[in-house]
Symmetry: C2
DNA sequence: AGGGCTCGCTTGTTTGTACAAGTTCCCCTA
DNA sequence: TAGGGGAACTTGTACAAACAAGCGAGCCCT
């Protein structure tokens, strides 16, 4: 059962994407929409709040809402999972484990994951046959058995873990910066040493706030970019000075 | 006049930051908070929704909200404005115009900004005396006079434009990736040619959805990182394949 | 023609109520 | 002791109503 406000949001989204409300044009007023859908104004407000959070429409007190764009930002799942993102974009993708071993957690890892034994996995991900991403993931000890049970060329780790042990990644913290490719990075990604890589370091937790993994992902320059839409009053992203929290 | 739910959110934020609600612990229930603050449950819900959007707390139907972290993601203003961000962090900052000229818009620029005459400005930004950011900004023709009226070492362009002509940047679209430093980049940022830079390309519009500027900002590696907290159901960020929309 | 003002419209905030849906934990039973 | 069944609690959804605050268009006056 989908909530009413979500169905209304879905309809409005379709109308915007189809061009019924061109970019720059005003949306109907809340009262008007409420009448049209036979819902209360509050419900309509929730619907348009969803669109605003997606960056599709903007709003200002006193004036009608404006259509800002047609690009919809992807879901958490697509940000977290390389496979789900690639599939949603219609790309061919693959993955291969290069190295995998258990070891004791470093001080920082133990603090981030809340456990002393971890599983470190080095994976190369391909897009359209090309290696584009190098994942250095450290899993908390309690998920290690499940991860070790996966095939080395597992396409989607996120989905496999959900299906095998019902694990759901719910919250993530991401730090994005640029680094030069080291010798290993260069060999596995097929670029020259020192060439620029886009680095995404993340820590993911379950619904209950239990940390699952922390990862250092490096994208080949030019292969992938992160996209954000934001507005006054909505603040998904932040800059940070240097490397304060992710040292090893 | 600040809204009630914002003041409640502010108090809760302080409590979280001060450690009264440690990371991983549950927040008081909505009813309890409503009683404590003498507000309706709906108002409290708005307050915690703010915190959830900031990534400070997570929530699931049926269970108490959990404190996820203490890092607060900054506001839109701080993401948009280098100066406001640096000041909020307590850093010394500066800026210097290197080059500035009017010219005709390229095809892509004209499409993005909706005008044919533009002003291109090249600025170097410093943090603690070090050059860390190179801004190549293209302003729409209608703001060009205001921008030209600014001093060359203007610290905060965003604030200066607000004070001089009441211009407010309201919406932004950002693309983040990594590139190698070109000859000019290298000289102005004091790094070697080919060293990795974090690039943020953005287009910003006013409240009314009118495009103001589009910019190519390059950060020296190691100086700045972007930070994102997200969760299932909240989706500020997206990956994109290669360079689809920002060609020149 | 231009500038200022008012009025209607639209979004923002707050309260109250009711029910639905999911979680947690305790107790009881096999 | 392990598991099932509830009951109490908590968050999610929906509706209704009222007022505040801001915007824009049209009107009037100079």
């Amino acid at each position: 059962m989908v909530a009413r406000y979500e169905r209304i949001a879905e309809e409005l989204r379709k109308e915007i994407l189809s061009g019924a409300h061109p970019v720059g044009s005003p949306l109907p007023s809340e009262t008007e929409l409420a009448e049209r859908y036979g819902a209360a104004r509050g419900t309509v407000r929730q619907a348009v709040a969803v669109l605003a959070a997606e960056g599709l429409v903007g709003s200002r007190q006193g004036a009608r809402r404006i259509v800002l764009g047609k690009v919809r930002s992807q879901s958490f799942a697509e940000l977290h999972s390389f496979a789900q993102w690639a599939r949603a974009n219609g790309n061919r993708y693959g993955g291969q484990v290069v190295e995998q071993r258990r070891r004791r957690a470093s001080g920082a890892e133990s603090a981030r994951l809340g456990c002393d034994d971890v599983l470190e996995v080095l994976r190369v991900r391909t897009l359209e046959g090309e290696p584009v991403l190098l994942e250095r993931t450290v899993y908390a000890g309690w998920v290690a058995p499940a991860v070790e049970g996966l095939p080395a060329d597992c396409g989607s780790v996120t989905e496999a873990l959900y299906e095998s042990v019902g694990l759901v990644f719910a919250y993530g913290e991401h730090l994005i910066d640029a680094v030069a490719a080291g010798a290993v990075d260069a060999r596995l990604l097929g670029v020259r040493r020192g060439s620029p890589l886009l680095r995404q370091r993340r820590t993911t937790t379950t619904h209950e706030g239990r940390p699952v993994e922390t990862s250092d992902d490096r994208y080949r320059a030019g292969s992938v970019a992160f996209s954000i839409r934001n507005s006054i009053g909505a603040n998904p992203l932040a800059r940070q000075v240097g490397d304060l929290r992710f040292e090893r």
